[in-house]
């Protein structure tokens, strides 16, 4: 592999992946860390790394094209229907669901543009811990992603979610393998980072821009 070569690779979030790149000596691969709000799809044999509390990381993998991608997102607080278990379809009118479905669609589109096929995609879902950001946020994120994947017909091949602590995810997009490590050390910094992220989402404008072309 050429130095720094990542041509078959696509950042999924509108901005560039904000995490760092480094050499992971344990997995003997180049590594890219994803921060909350990031997503990355690639055919390169690298390792995508992220640390999660109440957020969700979805790993999608195409076993035939041998490529994959991961996102890391949180549904923003939904003030109007807090704690409601309404179907995400019925609640598409709410910023939270709109945001989550776009995070998922961006990842799927990035994979398709690299040569994946929708019908072959397999999912693994991580995160959604209790009590990292607020009590019910993790559960709400989880029910959203489960329902979304079911609607899209993408089977879930693995899930490690819930519980009280944080997790570190290592995803190998070229093989689909995932290693999950429970983090028992203090998780305050993760809570703070996810809290900041939730704050940013609340302030951000999630409404779609409309451009009407002149005649």
């Amino acid at each position: 592999m050429t130095k720094g070569g990542c041509s078959d690779s696509e950042a999924v979030s509108p901005r560039r992946a904000s995490g760092s790149r480094y050499w992971d000596s344990r997995f003997e691969r180049r590594a890219l860390t994803l921060l909350p709000g990031d997503g990355h799809a690639t055919a390169d044999d690298i390792v995508l790394v992220t640390v999660l509390g109440s957020c969700i990381a979805t790993c999608l993998y195409d076993p035939v094209a041998r490529l994959g991608g991961m996102n890391h997102f949180l549904l923003p607080e939904d003030a109007r229907r807090k704690g409601s278990a309404a179907s995400w379809l019925e609640s598409y009118d709410h910023p939270a669901t709109r945001y989550g479905s776009v995070a998922m669609e961006r990842l799927v589109n990035a994979l398709l543009s690299l040569g994946a096929e929708r019908s072959r995609l397999q999912a693994k879902v991580f995160g959604a811990s209790r009590g990292i950001v607020a009590s019910d946020v993790g559960a709400r994120n989880l029910s959203f992603v489960r329902e979304y994947l079911a609607t899209e017909g993408i089977p879930v091949f693995g899930e490690e979610t819930g519980g009280g602590g944080a997790r570190k995810i290592h995803f190998m997009p070229a093989s689909g393998d995932v290693y999950v490590k429970r983090i028992s050390s203090p998780t305050e910094w993760i809570a703070a980072r996810e809290g900041d992220y939730a704050e940013r989402l609340r302030d951000s404008d999630t409404d779609g821009a409309i451009f009407i072309f002149p005649e």
Binding site: P14, Y92, V102, E105, V108, T206, I210, F211, I212, F213
Partner: protein, 122 residues
């Protein structure tokens, strides 16, 4: 009978969301799962409006617009692009192909409905 709208998106959840928004506003929606499927529906009838995603397998949204512009039934049908992409370059391509409106996901269903009503009436 409501006005007929063709909605083309490879995402099943998007088809449900947009289908629900349009049908509850009284429109009649024909859904297609990609550009190729959409193009085949152009031959069957004249639509009041076409709403299409950009990134799709088989045939993408830009190619679908080009097909519509060559289609006897739908040459003059207004077309809305509904996509996560928002770069000026992509928009320019969409405009050149013949799209009238470009809507960036995530969108509010009411926003989309507003655009449709403006183009084709209620």
């Amino acid at each position: 009978m409501g006005k007929k709208i063709l909605f083309v998106d490879d995402s099943a959840s998007m088809r449900q969301v947009v289908g629900l928004a349009l049908t509850s506003a009284g429109y009649e929606v024909t859904a297609a799962i990609d550009g190729k499927d959409g193009a085949s529906k152009l031959d069957q009838e004249r639509f009041a409006c076409i709403i299409t995603d950009l990134n799709m397998p088989n045939m993408n949204g830009i190619e679908l617009i080009k097909a519509a512009k060559l289609n006897v039934n739908n040459k003059f049908t207004p077309i809305i692009m509904l996509t996560t992409k928002s770069s000026d370059e992509m928009k320019k391509q969409g405009q050149a192909a013949g799209a009238k409106v470009w809507v960036v996901k995530p969108f509010k269903p009411d926003q989309l409905l507003g655009v449709v009503q403006k183009l084709v009436g209620a």
